[in-house]
Symmetry: C2
Subunit: 368 residues, 2 copies
């Protein structure tokens, strides 16, 4: 994540992982989620914060979940089921259950199928938010598999040359194991920035950068400006742009990647696509690739180590200290945060304090 | 493709599809390729030109193939074979055979596997150029499947913040069928521009745009400048940038997508990765997703039609007439070119005239 989007160390309150996990689990239980599922949902959110993926951790999404559960939009005890199946595939109807809980179960199914036939892929319709997509992809790692996760979200992005939102932020995550190096873990939206980063920018008082948003007519805004009010999402005075920003810089590629997610993670679930007004929001897709079906696992990991090491030892361009590979900064954040606690913005800690009081659940984020 | 990269109609010589196909087939036969394989290779190249994908058609690549066959770098009669296999997967050693011929055969294997178990994926090591990746992905369409193709190419792209080339242009192609609408067909490099577009820019006298290339120190060049000499590739006075151009505009996402291709289309072939100096160049990966394994095919196509129609009827931003979806402009080019011939730059026609004379094969591009 760009440094300016991280909560500044001097502003942050370091919160212990265990206490945060306990509080978030209690939150989901209070929403009516069974205890085991609540712990799983908390695990997805806390791992995001441990890995420095603050956009998908406890600071943004529980507010939305609270609304979703309260309004009956998210089903805390879904009767999710497989509606179609083949040796390598399955399609799940999520019954409006949260993706934080159902996507890991779907990934387990994909992994079991890949174990048997080499590949496994499970699509999910009628789903709800699945948190950090990388969580689900990463489940493949301990099985010596490559994992993938895509999610088709409600429309917020204008297509190249367009003036109406037509595609979601539509992230893709891929995780591949290595030997000694931290694993390759890529997870990114197909928009120039993740949707939650706009909220984060507002909280941190950061500017929106050129090429991130289009104005109300669909024209890319190519200068910096202060983050808009949260209502912009509804009022649509700005729209998100695909990665690339403008056609000349390759926005048709960001648009294309978002479209791939729409096909494999939206339409192929049987639940429609993001901009379909009738669609219950979010389609998901997870997949597992068994390495041993293609080549020796030890060879694969040895080659991954060699490749990743070469990437991270690339000579840096002027003004930069290091070159990263996807998953490396997150692994470093994880090591630090597991040891020293998770830095949260004071506003987030206060939100939890208020919510815990209101919901009558224990607040374990700080000692006070 | 950006309009400035198309050969201008007033400069172009319209060449008949049949004559071009015949000439290109004869060219491959003259290289030592068996007749049936030669016709297949010609089909891949000519379809690129029919669909307006001039970067991957007859105007650029046969020059490289001529060198490759002449120097023994490409094997005209490879003994390619499956080296590992599972119900959903296979790994092929290409024996230095050209991807134009082997990738379609691999895709047939993937399709047959998907027919049986729902998914099929085939990786190829020790491969050579496979032309337009979309060709192979599109083979899935007539089987009511979604197709994918990736290819890991020699290093030419600097990673975000890096000053040394570490990844190839690494394109991804995905094709998904529709009902009445032309199918969804996305095919794009993970670099800001396709490698061959730089050669095309030089031929057409077009400028390189900001965010496409980095200077010799790895710093993104953010102003326009004339296309460099072809030797730039070797001299490395500039490097290709990932889609996004700069970190702020999302170059880490282009870098990430290129890396996904490197994992699934490079390392997972068992043949190493693009920047590996010891790797015989090009790893490929093709996959097929059987729609009926996930949902009803008729429903899928109806939803695709609805989605694609909504995309192409999106209100355009000021200064633009229309919004496209991936595969739509190519379908329009194909209809025109099948009827009216393929527009080639005179320089390309002359190259074929010379080569046909030299190789003593019939020149069927024009009547004269």
């Amino acid at each position: 994540m760009l440094e300016q989007f991280k909560v500044k160390e001097e502003d942050a309150i370091r919160v212990p992982e265990a206490g945060l996990r306990e509080t978030v689990t209690a939150f989901f239980v209070r929403m009516g989620v069974p205890a085991e599922d609540a712990a799983l949902a908390a695990d997805v959110l806390v791992l995001a914060d441990l890995r420095g993926v603050e956009t998908h951790g406890v600071s943004n999404t529980p507010r939305d979940y609270l609304t979703g559960y309260s309004e009956g939009e998210i089903n805390p005890r879904p009767d999710w089921r497989i509606v179609r199946e083949s040796p390598a595939t399955a399609t799940i109807d999520c019954d409006a259950g949260i993706g934080l809980v159902i996507a890991p179960k779907a990934m387990e199914i994909a992994i079991a199928k890949a174990e048997k036939v080499g590949l496994g892929m499970v699509t999910m319709r009628n789903g709800r938010h699945l948190g950090m997509a990388a969580y689900h992809a990463m489940m493949a790692l301990e099985h010596d598999m490559i994992g993938m996760c895509m999610t088709s979200t409600p429309a917020s992005m204008v297509p190249t040359f367009g003036a109406e939102p037509r595609l979601g932020t539509n992230p893709i995550a891929v995780a591949a194991p290595a030997g000694k190096e931290p694993p390759f873990i890529f997870d990114a939206a197909s928009t120039a920035v993740a949707g939650n980063k706009l909220l984060l920018a507002r909280r941190l008082g950061t500017n929106i950068l050129p090429g991130w948003l289009a104005d109300e007519n669909g024209t890319p805004i190519m200068e910096e400006f202060p983050a808009p009010e949260p209502s912009f999402r509804g009022a649509q005075t700005t729209f998100m742009l695909p990665v690339g920003g403008t056609r000349e810089l390759g926005s048709h590629k960001g648009y294309g990647w978002a479209s791939i997610v729409e096909v494999l993670g939206g339409i192929l679930t049987g639940g429609g696509y993001g901009m379909n007004p009738g669609r219950p929001n979010f389609g998901h897709s997870v997949a597992a690739y068994k390495i041993d079906a293609f080549m020796d696992v030890a060879d694969f990991k040895r080659t991954m180590d060699e490749w990743l090491e070469t990437l991270r030892t690339t000579k840096p361009a002027p003004g930069h200290d290091r070159v990263f590979y996807p998953g490396l900064p997150e692994a470093e954040d994880e090591a630090d945060r597991r040891a020293n606690g998770i830095p949260l913005h004071p506003e987030v800690v206060e939100w939890f304090r208020d919510v815990c009081a209101e919901l009558e659940i224990p607040f374990k984020l700080t000692d006070s």
